[in-house]
Symmetry: C2
Subunit: 200 residues, 2 copies
């Protein structure tokens, strides 16, 4: 399969590339690095990406910005970042990718644990992650030509926790996190939210 991986230079994205590159042709996309660049908050940038990439069999998005912060301190811009980048960015990758993806292809997006298991500080992220889960379940009902769509819901990634100086005890390595993405791409699941804890 020809697989486009958005966020291929990120912590999860690199692990997904590693897990899939042995068996597939990988198109690496980053916001600065990779074979192609994209700003997923811009529909023009996404359209240009697809024009340059051409047809493909699977798209994985492991990119998407959203802001963590105390509810009383979050600014309008903190909410709009998550909605425009992580939520609509990924929704638009699907909407605009539909005319480029091959029959029986698949989209795999990334939400996160905070959708269903919030914590103080996640008031601008939880709606974004929950929204992605809601979108994928709804959009799956209308996918043409045998195309599938799933969302992977990661927990904290150990490598990210290390960078932030956090205790990594409750986290999962990027390599283990990548297993849910491989399952979504290579398996037959559709309209599912894949909790990474079920595949590690």
């Amino acid at each position: 399969m020809r697989i486009v991986i958005i966020g291929s230079t990120g912590t999860i994205g690199r692990a997904v590339v590693d897990a899939l590159s042995g068996n597939h042709d990988i198109v690496r996309v980053g916001n600065r690095g990779g074979d192609f660049q994209v700003d997923i908050s811009s529909t023009e940038s996404i359209k240009m990406l697809y024009r340059n990439v051409g047809s493909f069999d699977a798209l994985v998005c492991a990119a998407g910005q959203a802001r963590f912060g105390a509810l009383a301190k979050l600014a309008d811009e903190d909410f709009s970042l998550g909605l425009n980048h992580k939520l609509m960015g990924q929704i638009n990758l699907v909407r605009l990718g539909l005319e480029h993806i091959n029959d029986n292809g698949s989209f795999t997006l990334t939400s996160g644990l905070l959708a269903r298991e919030p914590m103080p500080g996640s008031a601008a992220i939880s709606p974004v992650n929950a929204g992605l889960n809601g979108f994928a379940r709804a959009a799956a009902l209308e996918m043409p030509r045998g195309i599938r769509i799933n969302v992977v819901s990661p927990i904290w990634v150990k490598e990210t926790m290390e960078k932030l100086g956090m205790d990594t005890a409750g986290g999962m390595s990027a390599e283990d996190t990548a297993r849910a993405y491989v399952e979504s791409v290579e398996g037959s699941r559709n309209a599912e939210v894949l909790d990474v804890r079920d595949f590690a």
Copy 2:
């Protein structure tokens, strides 16, 4: 209690006013009718509403626009309407209302069944409704002064189905729908998504 009801002239809102007005002081808010007017997609309009209303004990929002339509035909504006009006409009009612709501007050927002039970045509609504459920669960963790927050998730309202010429068999009357709102306002629930089918 002094209860502010946004969307008080709508089908659900009127039923919520009827159910609560016997025991409480109701402030009716509409986009055109009611005691006060607000455009929830505008933070300036919300700020002016709160300046005019003053302090209150509970806020119920039964307003929020989002667009139904085939995924292949939904425009950017169809997604942004739901995100700016129904999702961020209700989130901003909470964010900006926090400085006006009394101790131990409550916020009750409205999402909908399509959050978890999508149908073809709900790709722009399901993320909004799911996002609202995610926001309330997260925001509840940071509410100060004993303030509660819940979301009511209605199914199709019979009166609305009648207007649209639909078979009302699977729907629920506005009066029955209002029971979940009363439970959220008068009870002690917090951080919950109240499925109207559990209270009718």
